[in-house]
């Protein structure tokens, strides 16, 4: 076990897989000479050479398509898309090709493709470079989408994604790259499609993923200390497949839930979670499911406005308190 950053955990997973399997290669903009916009691929070009660490032109559709072709022929490409915003340029390749080839052509070719890409706002990068649009991919059958919130999961889910025979989008997060945590030294992959109960609790279920799953843990610790509220936190880790059983089991225990998401509220991931709870735990609900999400605006550039638009720990605490008030369960112990 070592304490390392989320960034380092991703790097270690990539390097470990490059060493383990010669079919794994990296492709994307600025990942070689420049070592990646967020330095995940630092040192890779020097170690593995230009054949396995491919710098590309600024042409997401082209290099994603090339990677899909390579995957169909047996290689295991790991595409870096600089931020998830630019994946829109490769949307057709991902949605219409990567996700559909296996099913549409009778299983003649698998597409063991990984797309690594960070989401997240809060960096004053403006509305077009600050989106959380993982939903677009989690919406598509044939895709898998994982969203690690901790360094340990960043490594374990990246290992799982590279070893998976289907296209997997690994959602990283700009605000998590520098966070640190304990990471096992071994190379044991996570199970894609399995959520984690990252904190056991009895009073309320908080469902989150990526950055908000980290926020959820902070909020839970604070509410425990200050108000004696016992929050159960579920980190989805995988948006597709979605681990509905873990969510439902938790809500059947706590009888109420709040969903934290970094995307927009309307039609967002939280809506799917709320529907999952309604389907599986309706008769166990003592209060409506609340969602905490981003304001429904293109994310402003100005710092105060950007901060106001993004969901915060304070927003989460308010939603949790109000939900507990609605079930008369908020009593300082």
């Amino acid at each position: 076990m070592s304490v390392i950053s989320y960034r380092q955990a991703l790097h270690d997973a990539l390097r470990g897989e490059m060493l383990r399997d010669d079919d794994v290669f990296l492709i994307g903009e600025e990942i070689g000479l420049f070592e990646g916009s967020y330095k995940i691929t630092a040192g890779m070009l020097a170690e593995f050479g230009p054949k396995r660490v491919r710098d590309t032109p600024i042409a997401e559709e082209g290099f994603t398509g090339a990677a899909i072709g390579a995957a169909m022929l047996g290689l295991r490409p790991v595409v870096e898309i600089m931020t998830i915003n630019f994946s829109l340029l490769a949307l057709d390749q991902i949605v219409n090709h990567a996700a559909k080839i296996y099913g549409m052509f009778g299983g003649q070719a698998r597409v063991p493709l990984v797309i690594r890409t960070p989401g997240g706002g809060g960096q004053q990068l403006g509305a077009t470079h600050s989106q959380n649009i993982e939903l677009y991919y989690a919406f598509v059958p044939g895709m898998k989408v994982v969203a690690p919130s901790s360094p340990a999961d960043a490594k374990a889910l990246m290992l799982a994604a590279i070893r998976d025979d289907d296209p997997v989008l690994v959602l990283e997060n700009l605000a998590l790259y520098n966070t640190t945590g304990e990471v096992p030294d071994h190379d044991e992959p996570a199970e894609i499609g399995r959520a984690a109960v990252t904190r056991q609790g009895a009073d309320i279920t908080v469902v989150a993923y990526s950055r908000m799953a980290a926020v959820a843990l902070q909020v839970a610790a604070r509410l425990e200390e200050e108000e004696g509220i016992d929050v159960e936190v579920i980190d989805l880790r995988s948006l597709r497949p979605l681990d509905r059983d873990t969510i439902v089991a938790s809500v059947r225990k706590t009888n109420c839930a709040v969903v934290l998401e970094d995307d927009w509220l309307t039609y967002g991931i939280g809506a799917e979670i709320a529907a999952t709870i309604s389907d599986g735990a309706f008769d166990w609900l003592d209060a409506p499911v609340r969602r905490v999400a981003m304001a429904e605006v293109p994310l402003p550039y100005a710092k105060p406005l950007e901060t106001a638009a993004l969901p915060s720990a304070a927003d989460a605490i308010t939603a949790i308190r109000e939900t507990l008030d609605a079930v008369a369960r908020r009593r300082p112990s």
Binding site: D286, V327, A328, R331, P332, S333
Partner: protein, 365 residues
């Protein structure tokens, strides 16, 4: 219910004869459906329904006549249905009510908009019917030692049962930086090194609470069920102090604590605690309290809640002063009778108390 009347089907018509009913009672009727054939002085005509509903009753059978405007049948359009107002209850409550056979109409909802939430079922659940005492088939494997209640325990049990089951309460917690208060206490005790007076944190607290009660008389109050209910706001401030005595929990009262100096409170409290230990407290010592302070700080308890000592309106549960991280803070939680004390009032009371504790000179002068 709508009456279907014999229509005027021609200018000269005065009455009509029912020839054939096309619907029978219980049939659904939509606008435009042919209801009945009516024979007039001029012709045999179809008569169509104008309203939707169910044919309830035929008043004029086939072959009989009726004057214009007379009812010939009745149509149930649903307007008479008295639908019970839907009770707002959470899905969890509906399921539990089904399982336990609870009639939700008899349960008061305390959730948003009067919604029945699970907590409401827990309080309304009927007490289990007393089972006849039966001789146990085998000795109790827990090997209990039975300790009969003494009068104090009996009083505690009865009062707290009354409080816990009949008083709707809420709790609110606040904390104060008590570094200055503790320093002041040390100073006072140093100054009194030769007089034997030793002021405790609790003495200062009792005084601060008394002053806060003076600022918020609504907290120094009792519920009275007289008439449609009354709030008795007490002009005198008598603060009870919960004391663990050999006989159990007793609550002797420091009278007029808002008018007593800290040293006077200290002396009184010490005397009461001593007599609690000797079991020489009188009923008078323990009566007329208007508010209670229960302090478990000396046991290192950080934070707890207390049960109201009826008929008082509120009680303050005080924990230990703990470094957070360098300066010590004290946490206290009020439990209040919500029938007479609202959350905002309790919050203002706590804010005043916090202000006093953080500016301790205001507690002593």
């Amino acid at each position: 219910m709508i009456d279907i009347l014999m229509p005027r089907l021609s200018d000269t018509m005065t009455e009509g004869a029912i020839s054939t009913w096309h619907k029978k009672p219980g049939d659904r009727v939509s606008p435009g459906d042919v209801l009945v054939d009516i024979e007039t002085d001029k012709a045999l005509m179809e008569y169509e329904a104008y309203e939707a509903g169910t044919l309830a009753e035929i008043l004029i059978p086939e072959g009989r006549n009726a004057p214009i405007g007379a009812p010939i049948a009745r149509l149930d359009d649903g307007s008479d249905d008295i639908r019970p107002e839907r009770i707002a209850a959470t899905p969890l409550v509906r399921r539990l009510a089904r399982e336990r056979g609870i009639d939700l109409a008899a349960v008061a909802g305390s959730g948003p908009g009067g919604r029945i939430i699970r907590a409401d079922l827990e309080t309304s659940r009927e007490p289990a019917r007393e089972k006849p005492v039966t001789v146990p088939a085998r000795p109790d494997q827990r090997e209990p030692r039975s300790v009969p209640f003494d009068p104090i325990r009996q009083a505690v049990a009865a009062r707290l049962t009354e409080s816990g089951t009949t008083v709707p309460t809420f709790t609110a917690t606040a904390s104060a930086d008590v570094e200055d208060l503790l320093a002041l206490r040390a100073q006072i005790n140093e100054a009194h090194a030769d007089t034997g007076v030793k002021v405790s944190v609790n003495d200062l607290l009792v005084r601060a609470v008394a002053l806060a009660l003076r600022a918020h008389p609504g907290v120094n109050a009792s519920y009275s069920p007289e008439g449609r209910g009354h709030t008795l706001i007490h002009r005198r401030i008598h603060v009870g102090i919960a004391v663990a005595s050999p006989a159990g929990l007793v609550v002797p009262v420091v009278r007029d604590a808002d008018r007593a100096t800290v040293t006077a409170i200290s002396t009184a409290a010490r005397d009461l605690a001593g007599r609690a230990a000797d079991r020489t407290l009188t009923a008078a010592d323990m009566s007329d309290g208007t508010f209670t302070v229960s302090n478990l700080g000396m046991y290192g308890v950080e934070h707890f809640t207390a049960i109201i000592n009826p008929p008082q309106g509120a009680i303050l549960a005080v924990g230990a002063a703990r470094p957070e991280p360098t300066r010590r803070r004290l946490r206290y939680t009020i439990t209040a009778d919500h029938r007479i004390i609202d959350g905002a009032l309790a919050a203002r009371f706590l804010a005043t108390l916090t202000g006093l504790l953080e500016h301790p000179l205001r507690v002593v002068a």
